[in-house]
């Protein structure tokens, strides 16, 4: 999610995020008032601070996403009489720090990753103060609120979900060749890749280019494999640094990913093309006639980069299935994803109402129709999504046995937004072996 914004500045202090994830497993109890864990929470009651009628929101997305977001808020604004002013900022991570530092915080901020939120935790009102934690947790996909937990308190609630573990293929050509659309294991999927290769087409299109953030696509590959080969527990240990980055299990995963991506003829154009082509262009070869590649692994947002004529007929042109499990690894279907977390800076009647709406399953019908957006709620009405493709992605995400937050967003920024990326590039180019890359990342982990 939003690594472009994140990459611009590396202001985020990594220690906060590290402390947060360490606290994550230690303190999983519900922090609601009167609960057994922690102290009692001072609940906010309506009327304590009257609102001004206007609520300001700062977020990272503009353009069409902004239009859809504002459309989703229109009915709410009319009903409640609250005016919402949304300001997008591509440099969200930096801007929010500066505005909070200057005492000019927006009422609500939409954080693309938990790390930035934890850095500003002392200015944020935890959601248990003004939201119904239990009700929220019962409709959300499990794991979301935990990723926003700092020292036992949940600092923000998701208002958008990204689902990463998706394999895309050009439906007509793929079905015509008769490949399986529901491989049970990664090994089976790799076997399909070999069949595609034998038919004379390159199986995978995978591109990593993302300016200063080049390498994040690679970190996603590693995270997907970590989840599948070693399971969520080891994954949590890994992202929270309870096991070192150069643990032999991580090195093994690097080797496995390398086997897939670096084997001659597996990925379109080979290593140089992968690094030098923008990540947004990965799906394009799939839609050429005949396709130059058959498979792309990328999150749900990649539909935004499909050619227009494909987007118009997405259900007939594109197929998608979940990246399967690893035979001999973790048994359930894991899903890697992310989400934008809404966090409250100025608590009053109006901003609390907006937060309640933003984070509920009532929010987003208009955005879902516009496309490119997924609700983090299991209970979100599926018929709101514009097409079958999106509905099937929502189904994949809500049926996942395990949902895990993108690991590089959880790691300290020096790693997750720095050395992890750069070492992935060097590893792909072959200037570093799996062991050397892992050693280098481990050495860069802030103490």
């Amino acid at each position: 999610m939003s690594r472009r914004a994140l990459s611009r500045r590396t202001l985020m202090a990594g220690t906060a995020a590290a402390a947060a994830t360490a606290g994550l497993t230690g303190c999983l109890q519900n922090p609601s008032p009167g609960g057994s864990g922690g102290g009692a929470v001072n609940r906010y009651t309506e009327g304590d601070v009257p609102g001004s009628g206007t609520v300001t929101i700062l977020g990272a997305f503009g353009g069409q996403e902004q239009e859809a977001f504002e459309a989703s808020l229109a009915a709410f604004q009319k009903e409640s009489g609250i005016t919402i002013q949304y300001t997008p900022d591509q440099d969200f991570t930096t801007t929010i720090q500066q505005r909070v530092g200057a005492g000019d915080a927006p009422d609500i901020a939409l954080f693309p990753q938990p790390g930035g939120l934890f850095d500003l935790a002392e200015n944020v009102t935890p959601i248990d103060v003004f939201l119904d934690y239990d009700q929220l947790n019962s409709t959300l996909i499990p794991g979301f609120l935990d990723s926003a937990r700092l020292q036992g308190r949940v600092m923000g609630a998701p208002m958008r979900m990204a689902c990463k573990s998706l394999i895309w293929y050009p439906k007509a050509a793929y079905d015509a060749a008769g490949y399986s659309t529901s491989p049970a294991t990664m090994q089976e999927l790799i076997g399909i890749g070999d069949q595609i290769k034998a038919s004379g087409i390159t199986p995978w299109s995978d591109t990593w280019g993302s300016d200063q953030a080049t390498g994040w696509v690679g970190t996603d590959w590693i995270e997907e494999y970590m989840l599948r080969v070693h399971g969520p527990d080891v994954y949590d240990d890994w992202t929270s640094h309870r096991i070192p980055f150069n643990d032999e299990r991580v090195v093994q995963v690097f080797d496995l990913v390398g086997e897939l991506l670096k084997t001659e003829g597996n990925v379109l154009g080979g290593v140089d093309t992968m690094i030098n082509t923008p990540f947004s262009e990965a799906p394009l070869p799939l839609f050429e006639n005949p396709p130059r590649a058959m498979l792309v692994r990328q999150g749900n947002f990649v539909t935004g980069f499909f050619p227009e004529d494909v987007l118009a007929n997405i259900d007939t042109e594109v197929g998608v299935y979940a990246m399967p499990t690893w035979e001999g690894g973790f048994e359930g279907q894991p899903i890697l994803g992310g989400g934008d977390l809404a966090a409250l800076f100025n608590l009053n009647d109006d901003s609390a109402k907006v937060m309640a709406f933003l984070t509920s399953d009532k929010f987003g019908a208009e955005w879902a129709k516009a496309g490119g957006w997924l609700s983090p709620h299991k209970t979100f009405p599926q018929e709101n999504y514009a097409d079958e493709t999106t509905r099937s992605i929502a189904k994949i995400a809500s049926e996942a046995a395990v949902f895990r937050y993108d690991g590089s967003d959880l790691m300290p920024n020096a790693v997750g937004g720095g050395t992890f990326w750069t070492n992935m590039v060097e590893w792909l180019q072959g200037t570093k072996t799996s062991q050397q890359a892992c050693d280098a990342i481990e050495a860069s982990w802030p103490a």
């Binding site: 353009g63 300001t87 200057a102 000019d104 947004s280 394009l284 935004g304």
Partner: protein
């Protein structure tokens, strides 16, 4: 081989080199212009130079751009850029005059201090200035006056330095004879020094205007993305989470270039005239 007006011979090397340089320097802009009329998919799959035979033309980038808030933000940019150019030049010209023609105590020290300020990067001042202009301080953050003050403050050291050096090269005899004729400092400045300095002023105005016009960081932090946003901030806001909508940027970049180009070409004529009109004649 022809002979130029001033009697020198035309140089063959210059005649060949100049067009080549002009073409080379224009290529990126031309590429931008062509790309702004292409679809995102076409721009991603083939080079802009192949568009003549590959096609992929569209007007939708400009349509998407103009359906947004470009009109307002263009006006905002003008409202930001003109005072932010005029103010530093005005103050700096006064100061440079004083530093050149008036004797006062501590003049050199003060001048060195101001010149030293040139090396202070504007970025280090952001947080304290945000604090000062923000709700805890003056509360003018988000208003035009905040960016005017910032651009004036950070433009002035270089302006003072440039103007003083230029004024020092003006013939002192002119200023001295004005003094003998009984002209006050005010009259000397407006009637003599300011007109004679117009080349330096025009050159600096061009640079300052372009810098303010193209500025993203200060505009974003001190004006914000609200109703007062400038055209550059507006362009940046058209991007989605993963940079969706980049194709609109090429069109936007072209549109935002028009006004600086008008400024540049009109000031350039002024600049040349300023240089050719002599100060000490007859």
């Amino acid at each position: 081989m022809g002979i130029m007006k001033d009697g020198r011979r035309r140089s063959l090397a210059a005649m060949i080199t100049m067009p080549i340089l002009v073409i080379l320097w224009s290529i990126p802009t031309l590429g931008l212009l062509v790309t702004s009329f292409r679809t995102r998919e076409a721009a991603a799959t083939s080079g802009w130079w192949t568009s003549l035979w590959n096609g992929g033309w569209t007007l939708s980038n400009y349509e998407a751009l103009l359906s947004g808030s470009m009109g307002t933000s263009l006006i905002n940019s003008v409202v930001v850029a003109i005072p932010a150019t005029v103010l530093p030049i005005m103050f700096a010209a006064f100061a440079a005059y004083a530093f050149t023609f008036i004797e006062f105590k501590g003049k050199d020290l003060l001048f060195i201090l101001i010149v030293a300020l040139m090396v202070v990067p504007i970025q280090v001042a952001f947080q304290p200035m945000l604090d000062f202009f923000g709700p805890r301080g003056l509360g003018i953050n988000g208003q035009f006056v905040a960016v005017w003050i910032l651009h004036t403050g950070f433009g002035m050291p270089l302006a003072i330095y440039t103007f003083r050096n230029y004024m020092a090269s003006l013939p002192h005899s002119v200023v001295e004879s004005a003094k003998i004729d009984g002209a006050s400092h005010f009259q000397t400045f407006w009637r003599l020094v300011a007109p004679m300095s117009s080349p330096a002023i025009a050159a600096f105005a061009t640079l300052q205007f372009l810098w303010v016009w193209n500025d993203l960081l200060i505009a974003k932090l001190f004006l914000g993305g609200g109703a007062n946003r400038t055209v550059i901030v507006d362009l940046q806001q058209m991007l989605g989470t993963q940079g969706q909508g980049q194709e609109i940027l090429t069109a936007g970049a072209f549109l935002s270039m028009i006004i600086p180009m008008i400024v540049f070409f009109s000031l350039q004529r002024f600049l040349v005239r300023g240089m050719t009109s002599g100060a000490v004649k007859g």
